[in-house]
Assembly symmetry: C2
Homo-oligomer: 320 residues x 2
Amino acid sequence: MKKVVVIGGGTGNFVVLQGLKRYPLDLTAIVSMADDGGSTGVLRDELGVLPPGDVRQCLVALSHSSHLMRSLMNYRFENGGLGGHSFGNLLLSALEKVTGSFERAVEEAGKILYIRGKVIPVTMHQTRLRMVLNNQQILEGEREIYLSQEIDKGYQKIYLEPYPKVNQHVIDSIATADLLVVGPGGLYTSLIPNLLVEGVGDAICNAKARKVFVVNLMNRKGQTSYFKTHDYLKELIRFLGKDPFDHILINVQRPAKDLMDVYAKEGDLVENDLAEKRLISAELLGDLHLEPKQDLMKRSLIRHDSKKLAQELMKIVDRL
Amino acid sequence: MKKVVVIGGGTGNFVVLQGLKRYPLDLTAIVSMADDGGSTGVLRDELGVLPPGDVRQCLVALSHSSHLMRSLMNYRFENGGLGGHSFGNLLLSALEKVTGSFERAVEEAGKILYIRGKVIPVTMHQTRLRMVLNNQQILEGEREIYLSQEIDKGYQKIYLEPYPKVNQHVIDSIATADLLVVGPGGLYTSLIPNLLVEGVGDAICNAKARKVFVVNLMNRKGQTSYFKTHDYLKELIRFLGKDPFDHILINVQRPAKDLMDVYAKEGDLVENDLAEKRLISAELLGDLHLEPKQDLMKRSLIRHDSKKLAQELMKIVDRL
């Protein structure tokens, strides 16, 4: 069975994993630990736990349990002191408290959810993402970075504080992978935070695996405004040290005009400016389904279709 | 397989069920829905759910899952907006929200916990326990009744408001039981609240099952102070309509002196004043284990030994 390692966190990972889980693969999700917004942020602050949100999404993506169990994990309490917490986050945090270890917590939650594959936090240490903009403003935490509209004016640095030790299982997984999938996902809030952890960039560059970069569909306004394929690649290389990608997978399907209008406030479509042999162009857009209960989908109306994305990735796997 | 139905709620039920689950029995726990204290009370008020606390305890008692899962269910968050909530209560409340039904929630939680047997809420309707004392004071809710020290001065009435419809599964379970076990448990806060639901008393009296009343070990100060076996029985009969019990199981073991001293503030030992053929006397005291993490045990230092209690009950079952 081919081993596929997916690196990201958040909704991007979710789409890749949900697509790939239909195939007979040995799947591993490596998840950024920089999230500090919403329910996750409150749990970090109040309970001192590691951030559960992105891990929860990956667990749900890999889950083979009932639809009910997956709905339960994403269920958000609405009122009172519990308001805003997703049940899955509470499960992970309670398991961390009971077992004394976030890694055990993820493992046990994986059993409850019958996941096939593994979810591995990139680090087991508490760390915060920080970004210093060109205007000297310091953005504290992933949430602030996510909300900022000033990043496209340039930044001096982005780093994790304290500089965290990598989870050794991450290095081992990357080293033994047959296919590495980086992206899609928030460039500064999901992808780069993984690469800021000690040793992750080198591990990716040195891995024997075939390496694919899945480029985002949309730019995020004030962050990656008017980025083209090459801009994304350049930013990743900045943190990877070199360009390790054997394939770059881009979408060439245009969203419907009315959808683009709705989305205009959020950002623009990523245009391609590369003409390299390693470029794979495909129609990757998901049908528009507004599923108000699946909160992780709310964020991006224009999103990858998990089936189409998985089909393209499987073409690479099949040629390995 | 003999069918045993245990009626109560709270810690008393827990001890009976935990003991009986080691035997090849068809076990059903009928649980009072009057709890409104602590985490359960907050969830009722803030989320409008049915009270999960006693159901959680019964599910844990019947669970054949790992020690970790059982610890998880009883784990209480310590800080922030989650402070005081037990994880199991949150699981039941989230499941009630996701499935739209408390009964489904209990069923699904039972699957997650690999329970053998059934846990059945006595009613599916929101209701509050209310007690009017002789001094005209009205005690609102189980929690207030639990904390009152004025009940032994007499009360005019105790009732559920609104008067709830029984859960039909309760009537069916009682009708088809081979053995019915009433108690141990808080007289006014666990046992009688079940009998206040429409039809439950009649169902018990008319059941073909052998019926056992397990008398409490200790009186609760200000509530059942200086109650003897007959006082308990009289109170139950008041709500049952008649005396249906084939057996009355009492403890004759004396707790250690130092333990009695610790307990003196809480209440006194229940003395026996019955000399009937149906009386079964046995040594039923549990060893004193202080398990600070198992919060449901904190309440009663002097408690039934689940194994000894089950052995006595099994003697009755074996003679059926």
